[in-house]
Symmetry: C2
Subunit: 238 residues, 2 copies
């Protein structure tokens, strides 16, 4: 049985938003045309951003336990709808039989190369300090504005926190503030590099910015990977 | 590690609606206060209703494979957000180390006992022929109108099919027709005994009916089971 493995729960609402995209992106008119997947929703995983910043417990043993669990039930690919946890992407990949798709690489594939592009990345402080988005942007030759930890980041932090607490409208207001600052600094493209942010963006004014949704791009890559291998074929048995 | 096991994918949209309810019913302001769960989304499972009616392949081996998979990773309770599959509840329970919660029993717990109550059950033809809802209603001493296979059921069938195809507004129109017939026949309470129906009800006129949502009641029972055992405790490790 070929299945997509999803290491989730970081946080749970963002995981469900990702799964909703994955299901909606799958061309299907009845159950049997959909894709099989296993979700390990493990919300107790220690805060990824704090750990990267050196002020929290290390989540790597928990991330590896989740990867081991998904491998134990023989998933054929693993995706993680949490950007910050990609700080440990190499460690997780090394100990996984199933290949992992990298969320930042799926986002970069969605940005048309242009000398006009000026990308802002909204993410946790940890993910920005880790630097994997900036490295991908450099590799793709795309212009970007550096993280603004003084003014923009506090708004992004509050936005993420409110989504995790289930307050989407409040989250949207903080996102509006952050977007305003990013456009003032010259950004015309925004990578929502934290899977909580797409939930807030529905309640935010993001005008002037082309939005790149890391959750949507990871879902798209997951569906493409599975469809190319025929995992949606009706009559496929287990 | 204590986790809820969810045998899902029947269908995928209904499973996500169930998970959304489960997450929203959990009192949490940050990731680490949420409940851990594993979802086996196995949409290729043969159609349950057709099999009960004797016109489709037997899904029991697939259901048991899903139950075995969830037991393999040591979930502590299993819930199945698909009513029709409860036709095989005893067979699944017998081969599961983890206890299973019965979706119909969670619904019946939500209906106040009253001599005025007249319950209609909307479900697949298979689930109605299986009769587990009718047996629970009798056991609870609740009045109910018998299934109307001639007029109401064709509307319910179309409603479920449209939800599975992702057409919620069309599904809502069929549900409105079915509700009108049920109230004409004297129903004042409606058990949405198929997890696709709550998705359609948002687009339907259900006036005159107290709605009992099998997906919501199963989610409520799952959260209660887990919270009573402290599975949401921050600092709980794995």
């Amino acid at each position: 049985m070929s299945m997509i493995g999803v290491l989730g729960g970081m946080g749970p609402a963002a995981t469900l938003d990702f799964l909703d995209k994955l299901v909606k992106l799958t061309p299907a008119s009845r159950d049997q045309e959909h894709l099989p997947f296993i979700v390990a929703n493990l919300p107790h995983t220690h805060d990824r951003s704090s750990a990267i910043l050196g002020v929290g417990r290390d989540p790597l043993p928990q991330l590896l336990a989740g990867i081991a669990l998904l491998n134990q039930i023989a998933v054929q690919v693993i995706v993680i709808p949490c950007n910050s946890s990609h700080h440990w992407f190499d460690e997780m990949s090394r100990l996984s039989r199933a290949p992992l798709l990298h969320i930042a690489k799926t986002c970069l594939d969605a940005i048309p190369v242009s000398s006009e592009t000026r990308v802002a990345v909204f993410a946790t402080r940890g993910a920005l300090m880790s630097g994997f988005y900036q490295r991908e942007l450099v590799a793709h030759g795309l212009g970007f504005i550096p993280p603004d930890f003084e003014h923009t980041q506090p708004q992004v932090d509050l936005c993420i926190r409110e989504v995790k607490a289930g307050h989407l409208e409040a989250a949207g207001q903080f996102m509006t503030q952050a977007c305003r600052l990013a456009t003032q600094q010259g950004a015309n493209t925004l990578i929502m590099g934290c899977t909580e942010l797409p939930l807030a963006s529905r309640y935010a004014d993001t005008s002037g910015l082309v939005l790149i949704d890391s959750s949507l791009e990871l879902a798209r890559a997951s569906v493409t990977f599975a469809l190319e291998r025929g995992w949606n074929r009706p009559g496929w048995d287990y």
